[in-house]
Amino acid sequence: MEKQKLSVLVLAVVFGGMALFPPFLLSQYWLHVMIISLFYVMMASSWNLIAGYTGQVSFAHAAFAGIGAYASGILSVFFGLSPWLGIPIGSAVSALLGLAVGYLCIRMGGIYLSLTTLGFSEILRIIITNEDNWTRGTMGLQVPGLFAEYSKTSYYYLFLVVAILVLILLYRLIHSDLGLSFRAVLNDETAASSSGINTVRIRIIAFTISSAIAGLAGGLYGHYVMLISPDVPSLGQMFLVLAMAVIGGMGSFAGPIIGAFLLEILSEYIRIYGEYHVLFYGLVALTITRFAPDGLMAVAGKFSGKKRVGVETL
């Protein structure tokens, strides 16, 4: 419990520091890197809610972000709807689709969810590339921004506020009665269900919430970069989110946040090597999953002589 308070404190200091830090001190380039990092913080943390806390692997998290982005983008381009309304609607669409996929698969067990979400991502890619009347295909859909006057500083604060709200929501969820059920389901499914927890319902709820957050993050991302392409819902993007959570530490609250900043910032330095950086992250993620399945958070814990970081702590 002490450790949990410590990590919350550390996170509060980090995000508080980011809030107080005057963004005009950063170059436009690094401001952009911070905004994208915050997008990945939301993505990796919400993916961690299902994978790390209820033990189901979804490969559709990037797909749900894409749905949020395209839903809001199409509403604003073709129907003139304000993105401020479009983004919540996009998030709701993601939640509904998440609910449908979750309802169909989760009762059959984790393997089915992973297979179906992989299929879902692939199909979404095909539909987006082919329905170019609505999505502009691989050229990408140009969408309006969120602010009348484009300013990276405004986006920075918006992403920061939303990311903090999402993290507070996730934290309270994990430490609520519902979160207790999540962990009970992860630790011992049979015991959880025999003590009256509806394991399937719990997992579907977690999956729906996490899809809604992905949709929200995707919508914000789309109206920030103002060009939504099939790269947003791609499996490559999905891999990046997964790698962030895995490298940082799945099932720990701070792990995916650290992973998101680490990989996004590191990407800026190794991007010059082109496509090699995906291969590099893949090999790192593979090594970590093989030798330190609880990620860097656990490795750090080991070196400081503390107990293994598990689901129950941090």
Partner: protein, 286 residues
């Protein structure tokens, strides 16, 4: 009519190859409860191996095919030994590991073999007139017969040999199997290699017909997964019937409905199975 028959035959030829690829997935799921997300990558790697063994090293195409399958088998053994073995009992970790591996192999393929489609040489040229209605490529016909022979071999191996019995014993009750003297560690490694080799067999058979590209692997994995779910997890018969059904539906659907949405038919079937009969055609209802 002759057009319909052509699509039908195409569907059956692809269906039989699909079945081999799906058995590769099903075998591993049945014994180890591990879904190999890198299945499609093993498939395309076999295609590339066979291309380079015959084009760059000058081996006869048939020999190149055999060597390529052997190499995929070795890759499978190595995968199980280094990455999968520590994850037994932790389904989630093995899913994550094989998914990451699929991304690594995809990018490695892009780097090593380049982004362009590659096609190993055909075993045979020309075409044969079928039923006096149309000419059908000899390469496709020979692929069909090779696939049938492979299916027969798999059935023989799994139903008639000691190895097959041991495998079935392990998938039913691992503890009991080890008590009667089956080394289940060795069996795991060997079965994983076999599953990988079957991806390779499908790969070397398909590659001379449809060239391999690094980006094609996701669709290949997906097709195999849909067949496994459709046929019922762990069912051999299910893989064959499911493979044929999917081959027919995809080919007829592509011909009469839309080519662009070929892979969508598979996904629709997956959803229908999950709604109507989630345990699949020949699977056991939990």
């Amino acid at each position: 009519m002759s057009e319909f028959l052509l699509y039908l035959i195409n569907g059956i030829v692809i269906g039989v190859i699909n079945a081999i690829s799906a058995i590769g997935v099903s075998l591993i799921v049945g014994i180890m409860k591990v879904v190999n997300f890198a299945h499609g990558e093993l498939f395309i790697f076999a295609g590339y191996f066979s291309y380079h063994l015959s084009q760059s090293l000058g081996l006869p195409p048939l020999v190149a095919m055999f060597v390529a399958v052997g190499l995929t088998f070795l890759v499978g053994l190595l995968m199980e030994w280094t990455l999968i073995r520590p994850t037994y009992g932790d389904d989630m970790r093995s899913l994550i590991i094989t998914f990451i591996l699929s991304i690594v192999l995809q990018n490695a393929a892009l780097l090593i073999f380049g982004p362009y489609p590659l096609k190993p040489p055909a075993l045979i040229g020309g075409a044969t007139n079928l039923f006096g209605l149309f000419y059908y490529g000899n390469q496709r016909l020979i692929s069909f017969f090779i696939s049938l022979a492979v299916l027969f071999l798999i059935f023989y191996l799994l139903k008639r040999t000691w190895f097959g019995k041991a495998i079935r014993a392990i998938s039913q009750d691992r503890q009991m199997a080890s008590m009667i003297g089956i080394d289940h560690w060795k069996m795991n490694t060997f079965s994983f290699g076999l599953g990988a080799a079957l991806a390779g067999v499908a790969g070397v058979i398909v590659a001379p017909i449809f060239p391999v590209t690094p980006s094609g692997s996701a669709a290949i994995s997906l097709t195999a997964f849909v067949i496994v779910v459709l046929g019922g997890m762990g069912s051999l018969k299910g893989c064959i019937i499911g493979g044929l059904l999917l081959g027919l539906i995809e080919n007829l659907g592509a011909a009469y409905i839309s080519t662009m949405y070929r892979n969508i038919f598979a996904f629709i079937i997956l959803i229908l199975v999950l709604v109507i009969r989630p345990w699949g055609l020949f699977g056991q209802k939990a």
